[in-house]
C-alpha cells in the first residue's frame, strides 16, 4: 500500500472538512497547476483556536495532512499552534512516502498563513513571532 492506515483513515474520513462562515482568519496555499491547494479556516477566541476547518484540492496525502493538521491545532493556543511543523503532521500520520512530504509542508503553511492573517487583522505580527512564518517562503517542492 502506498499510504499508512492512518493516512487512509484521514483521507477516507477526513476530519474538519468545510468552511467557517465567521472565520477569524483563513489561509490558502499551493496552486491548482501544481495539483494541490489547501484552504484553512480558523475560529479564534481569547488567543485560542476553538475551531478549524479546511478545503483541499489534491491527492490523498494532501487531504489527509489537512485533516490531521486541523485536528492537531483545535483547542490549542495560538502560541502552541505556531509550533506545528510539517514533520509532526507527517509523524502523526505514521509517515508519508518521500514524494508526498511536500503535502505536509503545505498543511503547515496553510495553518501558518491563516495565523499570519489573524495577526495582521489584529495589530500585526509581533516581532518575536516572525520566525514562525519563515516557512511560508519555502518552496513546497523543496521538501
Amino acid at each position: 500500500m502506498l499510504y499508512s492506515d492512518k493516512v487512509m483513515d484521514h483521507f477516507m474520513n477526513p476530519r474538519n472538512v468545510g468552511e467557517i462562515e465567521d472565520a477569524s482568519a483563513t489561509g490558502t496555499v499551493g496552486n491548482a497547476k501544481c495539483g494541490d491547494i489547501m484552504k484553512v479556516y480558523l475560529k479564534i477566541e481569547n488567543d485560542r483556536i476553538i475551531d478549524a476547518k479546511f478545503k483541499t484540492f489534491g491527492c490523498g496525502s494532501a487531504i489527509a495532512t489537512s485533516s490531521m493538521a486541523t485536528e492537531m491545532i483545535v483547542g490549542k493556543t495560538i502560541d502552541e499552534a505556531l509550533t506545528l511543523t510539517n514533520k509532526a503532521v507527517a509523524e502523526a500520520l505514521d509517515g508519508l512516502p518521500p514524494i508526498k512530504m511536500h503535502c505536509s509542508l503545505l498543511a503547515e503553511q496553510a495553518v501558518k498563513a491563516a495565523l499570519k492573517e489573524y495577526y495582521e487583522n489584529n495589530g500585526g505580527i509581533p516581532d518575536a513571532k516572525r520566525v514562525f512564518f519563515d516557512v511560508l517562503q519555502e518552496d513546497e517542492h523543496s521538501v
Partner: protein, 414 residues
C-alpha cells in the same frame, strides 16, 4: 484468473491485462516440457527451436508479416528502444534527424531524449485537441537527413488512433524509415504491416493477455538497424540472449486468440465504452472526454473531472473496488501531470483531474456501468472538499499562480 480479485472490477487493461488461462496453460506446458535451448543441436534444443519458429510464424501471421521479419524481445519498451536507437545508430554521422510526436509513450520519448544527448536532432510533432498528428506537420518537418519517423498507432492514455498509413507514406516518400508503437493497438484493432507500409512495429505481450516480460519487433525485410544486445547468434544475429520460450509461446497463443476474437471483442467493448461515456457525461457535471470521440481504441475512456485531483479519485474508486488510472502528477511520480494531456491542450489543473478507464475482455457491461453511480458519489464528495469548486460555486475567479518549480519542469519538457 485469480479469484482473490473476483469481487473487484479491473478497469486498467491499458496498464496490463490478466493472463488468459489458454495462454498460461501454454506457458506452463512449454516450461514443463520444453526446457531445451533453441540454439542446441540435439533433440531437446531442436524441439524448442521448432516451437520458437512456430511462434514466430504465428506472430508474423497476426501482423501479416513473414516469420523472418519478427524478432522477439523482452517487452514493448525494448522493442521501441531497439527500433529507434537501432535505426538512429545505423545512420550515425549521416542522417541524424528523427521525428516523433509529443504524445508517444515514454519508451519512445526517452529513447529520443537519450539520442539528443549524443547529437541527434529530434522533432516532436504537436497534436490537435483530440491527440491527432496532422500529416501536414510531418510533411513540413521531414528533411533529407531524417532517418526515422516514429508515431504510435494508438495512444495509451487517451486511446486516439493515428493515421499511421498516411503518415508512413509521407515518410517513405522522403526516404525515411517509419516505426510505429502498436503496443496498445495490438489485439484491439487490426494491424496489417503490408497495408500500413511500416518498416518497424512494436508489440508487447502483457497488453494482450500474455505475461509481462515478452514483446516483439517487426522489422521489414531489408531494413537495417544496429543491435542493442550483442552476444550469441539468437534472432538471426540481431538480438542476442537465450529466447524466453515459454513466454514467447504464450505470446503467440494470445495473439492468435486475439485475431480470432477481434471483431466480436471490438464491437462488444466499444459498445460498453460508448455507453459508459454517455452515462458519465449525462450524470456528472463538469466532466470532459479526452481523446477522439470516434478514432479511439475500443476499450479506452479518458475523462477530466474539474475541481478534482486524480489520485484522490483513484484511491476512492479503489476503496469501492474499481481499479483505474490517472494522468495526475501525484500518480506519475513527478511534478507534472501527463505529457499527453498537456499536449492536447488541457490546462494543468484539468489535467490533474484525469481518469483513465480501460475496459478489457473479462468486463461485463453491468460491471463497467456499475462505476457510474460510484463516480458520481465520489466526485461529489471530493468537490465538496475542493476549494476550487467552492470558488466556482461562489463565482469567484480562481487565480492561483503556478509556482516557479512547476513552471521550469514544464518548460523543460517542451
Amino acid at each position: 484468473m485469480n479469484s482473490q480479485y473476483s469481487h473487484r472490477v479491473y478497469l486498467d487493461h491499458a496498464a496490463t491485462t490478466p493472463v488468459r488461462t489458454e495462454v498460461s496453460s501454454v506457458v506452463s506446458e512449454t516450461m514443463d516440457s520444453f526446457y531445451g535451448n533453441p540454439s542446441s543441436i540435439y533433440r531437446e534444443g531442436q524441439d524448442a527451436k521448432r516451437l520458437l519458429e512456430e511462434s514466430r510464424d504465428s506472430v508474423a501471421n497476426f501482423l501479416n508479416a513473414t516469420g523472418s521479419e519478427i524478432y522477439f524481445t523482452s517487452c514493448g519498451t525494448e522493442s521501441d528502444n531497439w527500433a529507434i536507437k537501432g535505426v538512429a545508430l545505423n545512420h550515425f554521422g549521416q542522417k541524424m534527424h528523427i521525428i516523433t510526436s509529443s504524445v508517444e509513450h515514454h519508451a519512445v520519448l526517452h529513447s529520443c531524449k537519450s539520442l539528443e544527448k549524443i547529437g541527434y536532432e529530434i522533432t516532436y510533432l504537436p497534436v490537435d485537441s483530440f491527440g491527432l498528428v496532422n500529416p501536414e506537420d510531418l510533411k513540413r518537418a521531414i528533411r533529407e537527413n531524417t532517418a526515422l519517423v516514429s508515431i504510435m498507432m494508438a495512444n495509451n492514455e487517451i486511446g486516439t488512433i493515428q493515421p499511421v498509413k498516411e503518415l508512413c507514406a509521407i515518410a517513405k516518400e522522403k526516404g525515411a524509415l517509419f516505426h510505429t508503437d502498436a503496443v496498445q493497438a495490438a489485439g484491439a484493432i487490426p494491424i496489417d504491416v503490408r497495408d500500413l507500409g511500416v518498416d518497424l512495429l512494436s508489440v508487447s505481450g502483457h497488453k494482450v493477455y500474455a505475461p509481462k516480460g515478452v514483446g516483439a519487433l517487426y522489422v521489414r525485410r531489408g531494413v537495417k538497424l544496429s543491435n542493442l544486445l550483442d552476444g550469441g547468434a539468437q534472432e538471426h544475429n540481431r538480438r542476442a540472449g537465450t529466447e524466453n520460450l515459454p513466454y514467447i509461446c504464450g505470446f503467440a497463443k494470445a495473439l492468435s486468440l486475439a485475431a480470432e476474437e477481434m471483431s466480436d471483442y471490438s464491437l462488444r467493448i466499444s459498445d460498453i465504452r460508448d455507453e459508459l461515456i454517455q452515462s458519465v457525461l449525462d450524470r456528472i457535471p463538469h466532466v470532459r472526454l479526452n481523446g477522439h470521440p470516434e478514432k479511439r481504441l475500443p476499450g479506452n475512456v479518458n475523462f477530466s473531472f474539474e475541481f478534482i485531483e486524480g489520485e484522490s479519485l483513484l484511491l476512492m474508486l479503489d476503496h469501492h473496488g474499481f481499479s483505474c488510472s490517472s494522468g495526475s502528477a501525484c500518480t506519475s511520480g513527478s511534478l507534472d501531470p501527463s505529457h499527453v494531456l498537456l499536449a492536447i491542450g488541457l490546462p494543468h489543473e484539468i489535467a490533474h483531474g484525469s481518469l483513465r478507464i480501460s475496459i478489457g475482455r473479462d468486463n461485463t457491461k453491468e460491471q463497467v456501468l456499475g462505476i457510474v453511480p460510484v463516480l458520481e458519489k465520489v466526485a461529489n464528495r471530493l468537490r465538496e472538499m475542493s476549494p476550487l469548486y467552492e470558488d466556482y460555486v461562489n463565482r469567484r475567479e480562481t487565480t492561483y499562480e503556478i509556482c516557479e518549480k512547476c513552471l521550469n519542469e514544464t518548460d523543460m519538457k517542451k
